[in-house]
Symmetry: C2
Subunit: 207 residues, 2 copies
DNA sequence: CCAAAAGTGTTCTGACTACACCCATGC
DNA sequence: GCATGGGTGTAGTCAGAACACTTTTGG
């Protein structure tokens, strides 16, 4: 039996967070765990991952990548578990509330204890995310179409867990062509108007 | 059903090469393909990959890493195929000759047409190998204990497919601590004696 | 003496780091 | 007028790239 499991990340409130569901069935009843499940008949791995992601967040067309394949997951009835990781903008996600298992965002730094192998999978996924942030444009999936450079910098800082210099950050993302100005100024709140940016590509790409 | 498949690389004669077997059974009888097969009962994925590698080359304790998990492999009876890639020193490998499927090294640049999905898998594996060569010590698995810097440079050049500068190469591998001098000089052939080097670690590590 | 491979230093450039002040806005 | 966040330039350091000649050896 083959299962997929999806590590769905978002950045919200300045914190990198992951989507967990509370298990209503055995094993690990009452524990938090990653969303996942067995393949439906005739479905490909990727299709199953996309379906799970859409089930839990309502979004598709976001960054989604295969992560690693595990075996020997304790007390699971899958012999292999293919993990994926995804990045979503939490403002766009609509978590399901009517369900018996309540999906919820959990700040990565303060995770509860999880069922199955899930800590290992999340650790591996966040390591990969941090690595890819440095040399790809993956962040495109964590922000709306238009955003300020401060928004983007906040995303980087939340994921990497460290403050960055505003000027160096700007030079980097603009210089490498990750983002470009949209030319639209904006008036907002008690602030100076800010230039808005957009990603030059909303496909995953290596810089 | 779950299968593993192993992309086994070596560098020999200045060429990056991959181990293929000629299939004696259907499907793809008579085609070349990567070594692989279904999991034996109770075996983990990694154990199956290690077994396949040892079956075909007689070596173990080499670099071996999970690569990617594929599904929908045409005309295979596995629903998912977990691929691994390995690096071996061809001087140490002892390919099996008595078998009906004859394993043989094939130069990567001039591969025959392969069965299953195997071109894709090999492409992906060699991309990953090139990437890892740049920031890890993976090459340790492609050379004997002691070697000259020219040997090592030859391995890099074969994999990356481009000539490098001797002085820059030396600075880089010594400076980053990939290798160190063993202090043993050597007399060989019609050449000046050469310093021998060894890897500072024979475990995979990030530089 | 010739072929083959080993060894060696300097200069330039581009990327990354560190660092501090002024401006426009809404309240 | 003040708090909030937006915007800007320079100097230093380091890694990587380019580049050519001399030495030892065996045949």
């Amino acid at each position: 039996m083959t299962a997929v499991v999806v590590v769905i990340f978002t950045v919200s409130g300045g914190e990198l967070s992951v989507l967990l569901i509370e298990r209503s069935g055995d094993p690990y009843r009452g524990s938090w765990a990653l969303p996942g499940g067995l393949l439906h008949g005739g479905e490909s791995l990727k299709e199953a991952a996309v379906r799970k992601l859409a089930d839990e967040t309502g979004v598709s067309d976001v960054f989604l990548e295969q992560l690693y394949t595990f075996d020997c997951i304790p007390s699971s009835d899958a012999t292999v578990v293919v993990s994926y990781f995804a990045l979503v903008d939490s403002r766009r996600a609509r978590l399901r509330t009517e369900l018996e298992w309540q999906p919820a965002w959990h700040v990565l730094r303060t995770l509860p204890h999880l069922g199955f192998d899930n800590e290992r999978i999340i650790d591996y996924a966040s390591e990969r995310l941090r690595a890819k942030l440095e040399y790809t444009n993956v962040a495109y999936s964590l922000l709306p179409e238009r955003f300020t450079l401060s928004d983007l910098q906040g995303v980087y800082e939340a994921i990497l867990g460290e403050a960055m210099d505003k000027r160096n950050f700007r030079r980097r993302v603009v210089g490498l062509g990750v983002v470009r100005e949209t030319g639209q100024l904006q008036k907002r709140g008690a602030h100076r108007p800010a230039m808005l940016y957009e990603f030059t590509s909303r496909e995953p790409m290596v810089l």
